[in-house]
Subunit: 234 residues, 2 copies
DNA sequence: CGGTACGATAGAACACCGTTCGATAGAGAT
DNA sequence: ATCTCTATCGAACGGTGTTCTATCGTACCG
């Protein structure tokens, strides 16, 4: 395991010289460019201009690599969230923080799959969890209610993110097919279902067609927050 | 692709004779016994007493296998949920249905990772989605609100399930370490954090330690449903 | 200075995975 | 008897995470 930060520039031109920073940065770049399936040790090594086994000096396994890469970008999100100054309404603060987190996941859908998986490695995620919980301390709730409230919120965020992270069939990732057309195809299938057999699907298919992910998330979040406000005012 | 159900018993003793049913049943058994990582084509083939390639006659890829296996057990859950007779309060019905679904996922945490991934293949999941949505038709809501409400609920269910599905470090899976002890270890780490730096974590660590997954889910669900009730009564 | 310990790198090999190919067995129809 | 179509299977292919072992280069120390 690495002890110090790598403090020097590269040596000669035969051997590569990495650093935790560069490993994570390139890993994130791979994830951003082509999704989780593109992040392999061989691809990462090539990008770093080194050998495969070298990566194992910084990271004990692929799981840890993913955890650390996730925490690496969560660090940035954490800074954004900590920069939010508390307002009058704690629940409003919760809302802004959650939306900030969700925005970050929207840009990097893979985040949802690894976020908060292992707080031992993901120090920033733990800190984010705490920051997200702090507004609840200003609400009239029991400790258990606070715990459940923040769990509920992260559940909504992660749950929505997982929906998103469902690597789209590679067609939209390559840009060959737009997301709207992708949704439209499903909508078309649904519309052909018998209206008596599937009354609800029939009712909402137009809403599903071309729906906005952020709006859907905000709706789910607001339901939870409305419930929470009710609880805090009781 | 298979046309008919396999209608006969096995032939001689050299070649194995499968059926869609048996393939999915054994796949589910593997998933139940040792989690997703244990479901390999080789392991499945051995269990079926046949060759690896045979499975591809029933299923085009591993993703499809996972989708069909998931939908196979969702079929049972669907029956349970359809058996629920509507009560006076649609929101109560939503609650009972959601809890029924969550109970099923609690027993098979892997379900959460594949549920509703592809409604083309997962016919039962689509039907379940519709059934879950029907109570909202009795509420005074717009179509969009109904769509968002059911999305929110499935998000909470799936989000909670993903938390669960986080294959525990194999120690608790083997029964060597109890879940409580596993949680306790994390709690111990959290307790050592500075109380000023992590005020929220400090506040809720006792609640986290030994917490019940069902209770946590129910709390999140109830917040959402409370918000929904507010919306429907407005 | 020369030697040595250690931080850091890397190539080759291993075991396993999903998937494909080509061959072939069996049963019914012609 | 031949043909066709369903269903099966062993062997191989390319790719993966991971480990083994050997090495380079630098900092330290006698």
């Amino acid at each position: 395991m690495p002890r110090h930060q790598n403090r020097g520039a590269a040596g000669g031109r035969r051997r590569a010289s990495h650093s935790m920073e560069s490993v994570l940065t390139e890993a994130v770049a791979l994830l951003d460019e082509a999704g989780p399936s593109a992040l392999t040790f061989r691809a990462l090594a090539q990008r770093l201009g080194g050998g495969v086994a070298s990566i194992y000096w910084y990271v004990a396994s692929k799981d840890e690599l993913l955890d650390r890469a996730t925490d690496h970008v969560i660090g940035g999100v954490l800074a954004d969230i900590e920069a939010i100054e508390p307002g009058d309404d704690p629940i409003d603060d919760l809302r802004v923080m959650s939306l900030t987190l969700f925005d970050a996941i929207l840009v990097r859908p893979w985040l949802g799959n690894y976020f908060m998986r292992n707080t031992d490695v993901q120090g920033n995620a733990l800190r984010l969890y705490d920051t997200l919980g702090q507004p609840t301390l200003r609400l009239k709730l029991t400790a258990r209610q606070r715990f459940h409230a923040v769990s509920a919120i992260t559940t909504v965020v992660v749950g929505s993110a997982v929906d998103l992270g469902q690597e789209p069939p590679q067609e939209v990732l390559e840009g060959a097919v737009g997301r709207d057309e992708f949704l439209g195809r499903f909508a078309a299938t649904w519309r052909e279902l018998d209206a008596d057999d599937f009354p609800f699907v029939h009712e909402i298919v137009d809403e599903f067609d071309g729906h906005d992910d952020i709006e859907q998330f905000r709706a789910a979040l607001d339901l939870t927050l409305a419930g929470l406000r009710l609880q805090a005012d009781a």
